[in-house]
Symmetry: D2
Subunit: 332 residues, 4 copies
């Protein structure tokens, strides 16, 4: 059986989804309200249908899945309509703007027995999957803390701050690697271009067992940096997404307590080899799109299902409360 999908939203990210689903032979229809974008899409994908009417897409019996790449504020409405029309859905991140909306979406998907998948792309990224493996195999030892820097110049959003537009990536990675929800979150941000929208946020998270995490997200930075560092008791890992040769570096490094002498701790530094595991270079979005298709075909639950998407929304929601109160610690 060939699974076919329709895409709604051909703005910033939509073209990437279109390209991948086209390459997978699954793209049937592209929907956008903007006529100029639609005709661009039509030129690149002459065999696809294009429409500015979402209804048309939903009523197409040939379409099994709907891919939603519209502004986050519209996700709930569009996703519900698709589920009600019997379509499986892949919705971009953040899944919804509130956890209440998120719960409604999860419930709707359950009611209609449809697949609800969220576009948390990093959980399909071979580098992140490799790090997860290293952690699971006990290579890293006890995780002390993780910090992530995701900054660049550009992709300034008008109504979604850096917390909601950039940090979902980092939160998704953290929840995936740690397999836990944070207990508390505290966020500080600053707005420069538009006083209503934070251009930069610093997020501090406390996870169970004393694991701390820190995220710096910004669209106002001179230099592209996408770097996650995991500090463990046995090894340390740096995941640098912009380094083509060495995306993941595993440092055989650590500080160990040798004992106490006269009440003073004695430390021993250990700095061994660095290893750079070979990482599959498939485009992560290709893996994500492919996963959506095979979930539909085989009736599987996606890696990033609605519950997964909802967890990230819950953290964002608590984070936004903290941001509104100048970094006050909020329970998640």
């Amino acid at each position: 059986m060939t699974i076919r999908v329709g895409l709604v939203g051909y703005g910033y990210w939509g073209p990437n989804l279109a390209r991948n689903f086209h390459q997978l032979g699954a793209l049937t229809t592209i929907c956008d309200r903007d006529g100029k974008r639609l005709s661009q899409a039509q030129r690149l994908y002459p065999a696809a249908k294009t429409t500015s009417d979402y209804r048309e897409l939903l009523e197409d019996k040939d379409i099994h899945g709907v891919v939603i790449a519209t502004p986050a504020q519209t996700h709930l409405q569009l996703a519900k309509e698709a589920l009600e029309a019997g379509k499986h859905i892949l919705v971009e991140k953040p899944m919804t703007m509130t956890s209440k909306e998120g719960e409604e979406l999860v419930a709707t998907a359950q009611k209609y027995h449809r697949i609800l998948m969220v576009g948390h792309i990093f959980e399909y990224n071979p580098a992140v999957i490799k790090i997860k493996e290293l952690i699971s195999q006990g290579n890293i030892g006890r995780i002390y803390y993780i910090y992530s820097t995701r900054v660049n110049l550009g992709q300034v959003q008008r109504d979604l701050n850096a917390l909601w537009s950039i940090a979902p990536h980092d939160l998704s990675i953290l929840l995936y690697l740690l397999e836990a929800m944070p207990l508390e979150v505290s966020v500080r941000g600053a707005s420069y271009l538009n006083s209503q929208v934070e251009d930069v946020v610093f997020i501090h998270l406390m996870f169970p067992e004393g694991i701390a995490a820190h995220v710096h997200a910004s669209w106002l930075d001179p230099s592209k940096m996408r770097r996650v560092t995991i500090v463990g008791s046995q090894k340390m890992v740096v995941y640098d997404d912009v380094d083509n040769e060495a995306k993941v570096k595993v440092y055989d490094k650590g500080v160990h307590i040798r004992g106490e002498i006269y009440g003073e701790f004695q430390y021993r530094l250990h700095s061994g080899d660095i290893s750079i595991p070979q990482i599959d270079l498939t485009e992560p979005l290709r893996n994500e799109c492919s996963h959506f298709l095979s979930c539909i075909e085989e009736g599987k639950t996606p890696q990033t299902d609605g519950h997964n998407g909802l967890r990230v929304v819950r953290v964002l929601e608590a984070a936004q409360r903290s941001l509104n109160h100048q970094g006050k610690t909020e329970r998640v």
Copy 2:
């Protein structure tokens, strides 16, 4: 006139001070309580006197200045004794452990009309001085925010956390570049090796005029990073201390608001040339030691005088209060 100095403390940093003052022809005496270290010093500087008795150093009429590179907890006592003995002093950072101690030291220096200089080395670093120049000349425009990452593996301290042992560098740089004290500070940290001492801290500072700053300091990190980023309205600057070819990069980059259309801001991204100004490669510590000698010789007030050192201590003190209260915002 040849200025001569005695050094107390030949542990981690002392040898660097000894080497520089020796190269400047000013090193007379080295004092340390540890006999093994003293004999190492003696072997390298056979013409210098070595002693384990600080009194001996203070009573030496040939010594004009005393350089204090002992643990921070001992700074006040040793510095006061030196000032009372009529010596000028250069004391390592942090100057003291409390602002009360700091005020006492400043007062003592004033009383005895001696020079009190603090080893805030980055204010003698040609890269930092170049950035200060760029800011003063208006090249950067309005400063939006500054963030600094100073992490490495090693130099684990037993009784001084990462805030007091690493972050004084960043605070000194921030106060120097912004010519202002922060209004508020909030700090979160975590202890892994020893529950009493934070290995990593994240510091958030609010300066006047809405300028934010953020510092990440840690001695538990796989990779050495010493990087300060200044985001301005006109240009952006990255100071990367471990990049030998491009210590300072000036990015002709920014986002500008072009106007509002139907209530929506219109942004224009601008990404021009990068320039890497030529930076004098003199060792910053050499400049610092040299400055101390010329301040003594010419009776000048040092760039990093007691007031300067005290300002940093005041910020550290407020930061420590915040750290003790899980990141509560503290006025400085």
Copy 3:
């Protein structure tokens, strides 16, 4: 008028040409003898015709230009047939396998008044064009020498050695920047995988006015490097194609002779700022394809016309003679 092209050869490079001509709205037909490749092409470009019969492509009245991305040994034959069928052609590099073939091709294009363009892609690369500008404006001073390293692991060829398959890029860049033919060439190479085909070559070229050039090309190297260094009397330039932030670095550096004292030259080293000009990020192949279309539309002579392609073939031919004689210097 919409210019339409047909592509012959959908192997390694063909898919990139197809993608770009498709995005430019010009792709009509794809031709390849391999059915599997054809069906891949068909899936990606469902609106394009596919055929294994080159005749079909040539006879299509709707096609103005033919793009030839087949093995170099077949270029002459396919190109001549296309010209004779009244098509303009874009042929991949190397244009032909001998200068005799090249002359024949140039003559054929002239006879039929068709455009003959060669895919020397770097002459459409904004970084290379920027360097050419810097040279033309006299910024570099007198050029002393240029060296180029183009190495990677992969793209092992069975019948075309590294000289013919990799070095045409470097030769094209050199001839473009220097606006001159080399006087002499000397090449040494080595074959490891297959004794008949050199995996690595080192090319030494002498240009007029004492300008030297050196090229290292290999497909047997651990690390991708694509770097051209231009050493001039006033400035020096490094073009690093794999550095995304700093593709072109202009070093205000040089050594100057201050004079002679007692028969000894006195040198003065000068090491100033580095500047990284902003480079347009358009895909060079897009520029190349676009140029082919507008040459057809406007009847212009391409930047990389047949004479240009022939010059590169002449150098390759002399270089191959040298390689056959263990590096003997050959006149071009």
Copy 4:
């Protein structure tokens, strides 16, 4: 027994030798004809004797070894006098200016039963030693070829070209790693600053068993590069001396022939993990100086003895002949 050495030549490299022998407690005397340099030396090493009379150094019974860091043209004379005076010697590279001189020096050392050591510092470099180990253990497989780039701006020599002043490092590394002499050498160079002295040379070497090597040495380059790449059948190694975190990278990469199908070779590319072995960070010159002292103390033959130094001179000599004849291949 404490070994004591005297140093002759306190110009560019001498100060580094002085510093290391001083730190090893072995520096007794510094000799230079230039009074200004001598007084600099005296200031840094007040306990050392300084003299402009080499005789004085040679007649000092307390000195066991003489370290010669004068211009290469003076090596033979100064070294012979030292050996005849019963001193062991460490002479900088190149050991002599001709192989005839080199043979004379080796013979003199043998006659007087003194140690003759040459300052081929890279054979004391932990990174190079680690690579040698990897080769010896068979990790690399069969070595295909090695290439080395040693370029920078500066250290322009007045009477020694880049071949004699820079390339001895690369030749020493090659002979050490391959444990063989090259059969043939071919060199091309170019002179820009001074028509008598080549600023840049490209050296091509053929070793037994088809192993090729290539060296690019220059003092007229915008960017410091010191990089040796070893391409083997099983693994590939990059030694980048200016990369502090990853001096040695071992790439588990290769191309393998899977067989022949219809007369065409079938290749399989293999690209696995990269590993960065931990390298001891001791200054290589410290290891070299230390080795000289222990050879004297224990009567051992140095790693880089006179025969070793002579082998490098023989290659340089053949290389110079080739350079004089525009790259003609010369037997070594």
